[in-house]
Symmetry: C2
């Protein structure tokens, strides 16, 4: 679909995010199965629930602007998920696999932070207050998910030091 | 190449980043040509120079650890660049194209922030102080580039409001 103005680009970005969230919902259960650390499994499981709510928010925005939000394929998230799955195939030991899941999931979160950040800026620029509010809620959740993953990786309060475990193996 | 421990995953991440930077060096000139706003062209041109230095830092780390850093293909950045190029093809007007370039470039920066963030954490975990220092320098540059792009998009001191221009078209 040709994009002729900022509103068209905004809708394009929403379609991209809708596809991204849909792909993440399909990929997360595989990551949860591949993870060993109970806190990591828990964080990913919690994020799967949050992601489903984020998809529902995009549906709400799609209805507000009366356009078909599905049908586009987000190439960015597709590449990031392909990469994550290929990396995991190369790893045998559990602790290193957990470390790889964390850095892969952080790539996903950062992609979404960039994309939602842009969508929020576009929504505000065009005074779409309701859409901006919904998108900002998701943007904050993606930032929180990224910080929680950093906490797990760096041996903070959510972790007993996943990376140290990998070194010891 | 199978990854058997955190050190192996660290080398895998460095290979991924080496490919990412190489792909970005090839893609940026096309983005510079596609951009219209002079400040955006300038920011991308400056970032191309910075990216070449970042690639050289990865070469230095590759020499330190005596492994072949080239030869891997980063699927994440490949997807993000493909997406950026496909999006630009759908847009005719200059101001909307500039807005799309900004949000695409921010996806690239965020991918790198996540990947360098992970690599820094791994390097520190294994007490590779020199590598950690080099990677942290790049991580900071990626964050700065992302902020500069936000400044351009939101009509800050580097911009006269690119998004407003798109609305007016």
């Amino acid at each position: 679909m040709p994009v002729t103005d900022l509103h068209g680009l905004f809708l394009h970005e929403l379609r991209d995010l809708y596809s991204a969230e849909s792909q993440i919902i399909k990929a997360l259960p595989k990551m949860i199965t591949a993870a060993s650390d109970s806190k990591l499994k828990e964080a990913l499981t919690e994020h799967l629930l949050v992601t489903k709510k984020q998809l529902a928010r995009l549906d709400t925005i799609g209805e507000e602007f009366d356009f078909k939000i599905s049908g586009h394929e987000c190439q960015g998230i597709k590449g990031i998920i392909t990469e994550a799955e290929e990396t995991l195939k190369e790893i045998k030991d559990a602790a290193t696999k957990d470390a790889a899941i964390i850095v892969s999931a952080q790539r996903v979160e950062h992609y979404e932070m960039a994309a939602y950040g842009g969508a929020v800026a576009f929504a505000k620029e065009m005074d779409h207050a309701e859409a901006a509010g919904l998108l900002e809620t998701t943007l904050k959740e993606e930032g929180d998910a990224d910080k929680a993953l950093s906490g797990l990786a760096q041996g903070g309060m959510f972790s007993e030091g996943l990376n140290q475990t990998a070194i010891k193996d």
